[in-house]
Amino acid sequence: MDPESRNGFVGLVLVSHSAEIADGLAKLVAQVAGPSVPIVAAGGGPDGTFGTDGARVLGALREAAGSAGAVVLMDLGSSVLSVRAALGELPAETVAQLRIADAPLVEGAIAAGVTASTGGSVDEVLAAAQEARTVAKF
């Protein structure tokens, strides 16, 4: 992957209780959206169990908040809480580059990834993710 091209594209952070879900979704989104979109997966608890790892989530947000910004998608419950807690530990200029999507994780990540791959802004990518709340599946 060309590091320079990565800089221009909005990134995604995928937070799940399961490392397999976060990692697998990252691979799926990369297939559909192409290699340009930076994706950081933060799944599972600190000891490899199901759960969330606040330090990993914090690191993922830091890593993803590049020049073009990033959209954060979560599964539910403590994933949301850990993202909120991490935002509280980040400087305001980093938080300003992040958008938290209230969206279904899989569908939202696919929509966000494709929109990011078109060169969309962080707010356009957020809107694409949240469109997944209302677009019918068939």
Binding site: Q31, V32, E107, I110, V114, T118, A132, V135, K137
Partner: protein, 89 residues
């Protein structure tokens, strides 16, 4: 602002349903154009720049898509996308 409407028809390859990866390629192509673009198939209509709406068309291989574009560079957008559809894979 110059405005026009263009409609083109194009058929998916028989072996290529409009599933996630080809739909992603189609949406990326549509997003290059400022025009408003829709795709119709199976009695449904989708925003060509929304992968979720495109996937919800449920278009199987061999399906004819009706691509309608309006606004800036509409004809160019419709021509480009109609040319892309038979090449999706």
């Amino acid at each position: 602002m110059p405005s026009s409407e263009s409609e083109r028809r194009a058929t998916l390859p028989n072996e290529v349903p409009l599933h996630a990866r080809p739909a992603g390629d189609f949406v990326r192509a549509a997003a290059q154009f400022p025009a408003e673009i829709s795709v119709a198939a199976n009695g449904k209509r989708a925003n060509a720049k929304s992968i979720l709406e495109i996937l919800a068309l449920g278009a199987l291989g061999g399906t004819e898509l009706v691509i309608a574009a309006s606004g800036d560079r509409a004809a160019e957008a419709a021509d480009h996308l109609a040319g892309l559809v038979p090449q999706l894979g």
